[in-house]
């Protein structure tokens, strides 16, 4: 089928291996994603907290720099589990906005333009399609979450010594698992919403709403009933609880001073939902997203 011949010609060359064919989708998607200058600028901003994190680690080990800045090392945030946990959650928040910008059109655009039969009439399964679309987010979000965080963990280990590395290896595991939970949840949620709502703007609004509206309701429940069980419907709070559990900083009970008539006050102990409940709800959300994707990602919908 050479251009000059204008005849039909079969392809006789080698084929790519099947196992990594799903990566064709992110490769093409990244070209579109980084065409937007706004997105590229935001993506660069996502690395600023990591730069701050790197500077803080560096300052902890550089007496000259501290002397120049006239800062005592004790005034700096200690480099411990809480330090890394804070940045995991911070980068998770950035990841949410990246997912909000990139995720919604991924499947929605294909559904709107009936492109699914074109993908699925090839040696390319529905699972590979979903995996390919999710890889766009999984790769992008990994580059701003666990990958640089682990590099910074290694940087801290290098400066602190092998003993610190061995003693705190569990922090590296917590960084990885905590970030992956953020990434997986965001990727699944944005794909599921994208598959359900064919319009990008509505899908973005739905993703935003899914994170913030239940959080507001949860907080209302917390305030009305003097409890923390309202957090069970807040995705953000659930992830924070789970990451706190991973970093060993989860505190289930906390007190709150409640005033009466402006004269008396008493402390009420409020319990967060237990860790298993947070894990369970997140698992349910992920399972629901997968079920939704399985229902919607089809070459053709059969009208029964």
């Amino acid at each position: 089928m050479a251009v000059y011949e204008h005849t039909y010609k079969p392809y006789l060359g080698k084929l790519t291996p099947e196992w990594n064919r799903f990566l064709v989708i992110p490769r093409h998607a990244f070209r579109d994603v980084f065409k937007s200058k706004l997105f590229t600028a935001f993506f660069v901003i996502c690395f600023i907290p990591l730069l701050v994190e790197a500077i803080l680690i560096y300052l902890h080990h550089n007496a000259n720099a501290l002397a120049i800045l006239q800062v005592n090392v004790r005034e700096l945030i200690p480099i411990d589990a809480t330090f890394f946990q804070t940045f995991v959650n911070l980068q998770g928040s950035f990841a949410f906005f990246v997912a909000l910008l990139v995720g919604p059109p991924l499947v929605a655009r294909d559904l709107r333009n009936n492109a699914l039969p074109l993908y699925l009439c090839r040696p390319f399964s529905r699972t590979e399609y979903v995996l390919g679309k999710m890889s766009v987010l999984l790769i992008l979000l990994s580059t701003i979450t666990w990958v640089p965080q682990l590099v910074l963990f290694l940087f801290q280990s290098y400066l602190e010594g092998a003993r610190w590395f061995i003693d705190n290896l569990w922090i590296a595991a917590a960084i990885f698992i905590g970030s992956v939970i953020w990434i997986l949840l965001l990727a699944l949620l944005s794909q599921a919403i994208s598959a359900l709502v064919k319009w990008r703007v509505i899908a973005s609004a739905a993703l935003l709403g899914l994170f913030f509206i239940p959080s507001i309701f949860g907080e209302v429940i917390n305030q009305l009933f003097y409890t923390r069980w309202g957090n069970i419907i807040s995705l953000g709070a659930l992830i924070k609880n789970v990451t706190a559990g991973l970093f060993g900083t989860f505190v289930r009970s906390s007190g709150q001073m409640v005033g009466f008539d402006g004269r008396m006050a008493r402390e009420i102990i409020m319990n967060e939902p237990p860790l298993w409940a947070s894990w369970f709800v997140l698992f349910l959300v992920c399972a629901a997203c997968l079920a939704l994707l399985s229902w919607k990602v089809k070459a053709y919908e059969v009208v029964r």
Binding site: H6, K9, R21, R122
Partner: protein, 333 residues
């Protein structure tokens, strides 16, 4: 099985005598009591037969099951019972292998938004397993081949309906499939674009390098580019025949315009052993069989007090075969 290997198994493609004799080829599609139901409603019912043609027309009225048959063969729907084989591979167990051998041009407007045609076709090629460089090269070639060479860098969103149809054809060809399913390929095309599409289909057919299944409700399109036809009616095979052989077989074909009571006349013609089809209030088509001659028809007309106002010999057109199939119900393979 690698595509390159499978292609080499084909018989000599440019042997024109071979092309005319479909028995030289193993069955392209082998239907084994294939049935499909949606929500308990039968859509395809026990389809049985071997399709061997180089270009097979899939015909039938709306809702006959043409598109469902193609979708089932592509593995989009699971058979309720029975199965089918494409190039000897089972559609239920070897779906992925089969999909590496076929190209599909869907009926509906299908494309990937915000992409140039060349990127779109390249992406489709890569998803079929072509390495990126080969996919890009073949995307250019495919787009030139279908006549979109000059417009290949334009976004698909800006394409006209006819151009989108051609882009869909290009993506179906990019990986060099052995079997190409074209679902209503001339839908929404103006006459020149339709002619171009038909010419392309005929070129691919005549190249001998791929089999084509054209699903259409436009008889003329199928007549122009297909050697064999499969007519579906209510999810069953009404007719499967070689168009040319069918025409030859029906050379003694009469078209009568009459005046009088047509029903007893038609019954008498039928009793004579002739096939017939009543195509209007006063029109009947008759196929003369064996030793029966035209004077026998005149004799019956006289006996039935029937005036024959016009008698003409006519070749059996696809329309006739189709109408006969719609009246008779079931044909055979």
């Amino acid at each position: 099985m690698a595509l390159a290997e499978t292609i080499q198994e084909q018989p000599t493609p440019r042997d024109s005598a071979g092309l005319r004799d479909p028995s030289n080829f193993a069955p392209v599609i082998d239907l084994n009591a294939l049935s499909v139901q949606f929500g308990g409603r039968p859509i395809l019912q026990s389809l049985q037969g071997e399709l061997r043609g180089r270009a097979i027309g899939l015909l039938g009225p709306n809702g006959a099951g043409k598109t469902t048959l193609i979708h089932t063969l592509l593995g989009f729907h699971s058979p309720t019972s029975g199965t089918a084989h494409i190039f000897g591979q089972d559609i239920t167990t070897d779906a992925k292998n089969i999909r590496s051998l076929v190209g599909y041009m869907p009926e509906r407007d299908s494309y990937i938004a915000k992409m140039s045609a060349v990127r779109f076709v390249r992406l489709m090629g890569e998803l079929s397993g072509l390495p990126p460089e080969a996919a890009l090269e073949r995307a250019h070639e495919a787009l030139f081949y279908v006549g979109l060479g000059e417009a290949r860098y334009r976004s698909l969103d800006t394409y006209s309906l006819g151009m989108k149809q051609l882009a869909k054809l290009a993506q179906a060809l990019v990986h060099g499939p052995r079997l190409i399913f074209l679902d209503e390929p001339t839908n929404g095309l103006d006459p020149p674009a339709r002619q171009r599409m038909i010419r392309l289909i005929r070129e691919i057919r005549d190249s001998g390098k791929a089999h084509i299944v054209v699903s259409s409700h436009l008889l003329r399109d199928v007549e122009e580019c297909c050697e064999e036809i499969l007519i579906l009616k209510d999810g069953r095979i009404a007719v499967y025949c070689n168009l040319e052989e069918e025409r030859k077989a029906n050379r003694k074909f009469l078209l009568l315009e009459t005046r009088g009571d047509l029903e007893p006349f038609a019954a008498a013609v039928g009793a004579l052993g002739c096939e017939y089809a009543v195509t209007g209030a006063a029109r009947i088509k008759v196929v003369l069989q064996g030793e029966i001659e035209v004077r026998d028809i005149y004799r019956i007309a006289a006996e039935q007090n029937m005036q024959i106002r016009r008698l003409s010999y006519k070749r059996d057109s696809l329309e006739d075969i189709f109408l006969k199939a719609m009246e008779n119900g079931h044909g055979s393979l």
